[in-house]
Amino acid sequence: MMQLTKLTFLILLIACVFVPLLHGADTIAIRAGKVITLGGAPIDNGIIIIRDGKIEAVGTDLAIPVEAHVIDAQKQVVMPGYVDAHSSDGMGQANERNENVPFLSVVDGIDPSLDYFEESLRNGVTTVAIVPGNNTLIGGKAAIVKTAGQYVNDMLVQRDAGMKISLRPTSGSRMGHMAKLRRELDKAKAALEKRNAGEKPKSEPEKQDPPASEGEKKEDEKEDAPQTEGPPQGNAVDAAKMAQGLESMMAVVEGKMPVYLYCDTAMDVAAALKLEKDYGLNAIYVLGGDTYKAASLLAGKSRPVVLDRNLIFWETDPRTREDRKIILPEVFRKAGVPFVFQTGDGSQRTNDASSYLWYQAAIAIRHGVAEEEAMRLLSLVPAKLLKIDDVVGSIEPGKDADLVILTGEPFRMSTWVDKTLIKGKVVYDRSKDTKLERLLSPAAELKQ
């Protein structure tokens, strides 16, 4: 009985203390030394008002609401949270062994407890497109997620954000790989044409639907999908999987679902361009290092390509033995091909700094990209590429309050992420980052 009263008291106390706090936390004001909005010019001594997770206003002469919790960043720089347009990290395993798995979704593989997410927040990445790895043919569906959360569904910005198709042969020849891919695309195209012609099975309730069904319908279609494919008496689970795969592939050839089209070598670029044209694909080019030789083929594309994680590498001419240093951002910039960066292709990392998105941008600056442009490459450009720039990518009213508070100017060696906010919540605070503290002063951990 005594215990119970104590407990009740405790609950009451917690409620009294925290409920008003939580309520107040819905409105946040940040006083920033500098706000790099990317929506317009940077604002010195700016104020950002955040309400219910969204940016309400940004400017200099803003009245701070009385109920607002104020974050003092007057000596700091605030930027939009970084967006990684393609990563195969964040999952235990980047690829299924089977190479033709359009029915898979990374949502089932994303592990929010992986240190990838923690490290993302520590380095200012707030949104990431998690895409199946490159070691596949049709690798499954990508998802766009925020990097903070306990449960993947809470992190989702967009499920089924695209299909991974890789042109690097998984086994056998390129001829075989391409033939298999075309066969799958043709199958989807035929199914789509059949549906558009109104030849749906009788059990299909959406028979009367016009062919141009919108994205929202997709979910319904998927539920019905098992009935559209094969005899209903067969292996129900397999049929469902197959059907979902076909549905997704139909969305791909319909141009509704984007394709993360991985090109490993220069020759793959030409093949990818042809596929894009032949099947009307909505392609996002994910490029391996060797594709720099085909940069001119991509010139004139308005949509940025995703560059390889290793931005600088060396090659030796097999005949002359001449060594060449390849700097991807320089090559693509000169060819007039817009690009964004990526930090994780799912492969084992060596001890290098390419796992930091800000470092990739710093290398681009080193090789001729203007600093202002490099800032956009960290958030606004990839947000536009992923077509989520209505919610993230810049500090503008109406967008999610995904912000990075830096201790100084971006890209500087001594600049650290001080705080990261996602939807107005502080999800990373350097002053409370005990792991960072231990890494920087291991003596403390030895004394324990």
């Binding site: 490290e119 060396w314 060594d323 240093k325 001890n351 710093a362 890494l439 002063s441 291991p442 030895l446």
Partner: protein, 402 residues
């Protein structure tokens, strides 16, 4: 940047200096390097500063130098060429001779391919001097050598041997055992020691004993024993590859028992023995600075637990150390990010490694009488956004083939 490059070439044309079609310039006369900032490597930075070079040597350093006859080269930031004290460049066909455990007379020089691309890559990252060690698969691994990474030959980009048979390299780590303990027992065709750390230490001790008493060692040539003797009398430096805390501590035992003064190479877990390292005035060549975001990048060789600010801690304790290994400049940048003092970071990739390699009279600083090994950057060399513009080795300028 382009303007600078044009100015540079015009400068050379006026100074009637020959250059070949690749753009590598061969200078015969005096060159005056004028920098907006000149980092000397001794703790001072001249802003602006100038360096006069005649032949392969630096003949004058100052805020302003009057040398009307010299061809002028302008730069934004200038610093001494980097010295990598534990490199593995151009080693062809394996860096360890795995048929013998006691091989002090094996010379890594014999395995180095001077045409290797790795030298070009290193030079492109600003490394002008590299200490190349034999691999760690044998307890007495062999002798090291020091090279300049570029500046020789008609093309001007061939490396050259700088110091041969520099130091004796010992593997005081578990590497020599790895080959001998497959499936938990010694089953290689060699059937040899060591299979564990005790074996490594036993080989070191027993061999040192024999060298001390001038007795023959079975299977080891008198010449090899002579090299060990030289190293024990400190006529030749000893470099021990040691990474874990226990391996680092074993060095202290050898120090006590045989009076040797090994320079520690690796030092991944040096942060765990700071007090002893300080007390013993140990010198450490840190060969891994963890710089990746991934947690896997915090696991070093031999599964050592890497930490981010090892350099900063060593510096705080005034333990002599330098940075070494791949991406040397990025290591220095990250070391500063993690807490190392700026000037310390510069010196830990230039003057300090030169001192540890006993070549401080030739390289490591911008000072009169030293080799003209100079780097020019587009900005502060410790910033990630700064790029290397040109490098000069032995007074020969290379625009890095751009």
């Amino acid at each position: 940047m382009r303007i600078f490059r044009v100015a540079l070439f015009v400068g050379f044309l006026c100074g009637s200096i020959s250059f070949d079609s690749v753009g590598k310039v061969v200078a015969d006369e005096a060159i005056l390097v004028e920098g907006q900032h000149v980092v000397l490597g001794d703790g001072t930075t001249l802003s602006p500063g100038a360096v006069l070079i005649e032949g392969n040597r630096i003949v004058a350093v100052g805020a302003n130098i009057d040398a009307p006859a010299a061809s002028r080269v302008q730069a934004k930031w200038v610093m001494p060429g980097l010295v990598n004290a534990a490199a593995r460049l151009g080693v062809a066909g394996g860096d360890s001779e795995i048929t013998a455990e006691i091989a002090p007379d094996f010379d890594i020089r014999s395995s180095i391919d001077l045409t290797s691309r790795e030298f070009t890559e290193a030079a492109n990252q600003g490394v002008t001097t590299a200490h190349i060690l034999p691999g760690s698969q044998s307890v007495f691994a062999g002798t090291s050598c020091i090279l300049k990474t570029t500046g020789q030959g008609t093309s001007g980009n061939t490396p050259r041997l700088f110091v041969e048979r520099h130091g004796l390299v010992l593997a005081l780590c578990s590497d020599p055992t790895s080959r001998n303990q497959a499936r938990g027992r010694p089953d290689s065709i060699f059937m040899r020691q060591p299979t564990n750390r005790m074996g490594v230490m036993w080989i070191l001790r027993s061999t040192f004993h024999r060298a001390q008493q001038n007795t023959d060692s079975p299977g080891v040539s008198p010449y090899a024993m002579k090299i060990i003797g030289q190293a024990m009398r400190q006529e030749m430096p000893i470099f021990t590859i040691s990474r874990t805390e226990v391996d680092l501590r074993s060095n202290f035992e050898l120090q006590d028992e045989f009076g040797v003064q090994p320079i520690l190479v690796g030092g991944e877990e040096a942060y765990r023995t700071l007090d002893v390292l300080k007390e013993r005035k140990s010198r450490v060549i840190l060969s891994t600075t963890a710089i990746g975001a991934d947690s896997r990048s915090l696991i070093g060789p031999e599964r050592t637990k890497l930490r981010w600010n090892v350099a900063g801690l060593l510096s705080q304790e005034e333990i002599q150390f330098c940075l070494a290994g791949d991406q040397l400049l990025d290591q220095a940048r990250f070391a500063v990010r993690y807490g190392l003092d700026r000037e310390q970071a510069i010196q830990s990739v230039t003057a300090i490694p030169a001192q540890m390699l006993n070549i401080q009279g030739q390289v490591g600083k911008i000072a009169v009488g030293l080799d003209a090994d100079i780097l020019a950057f587009t900005g502060d060399p410790l910033e990630f956004t700064s790029g290397l513009e040109w490098i000069m080795v032995d007074g020969k300028l290379s625009d890095l083939g751009k």
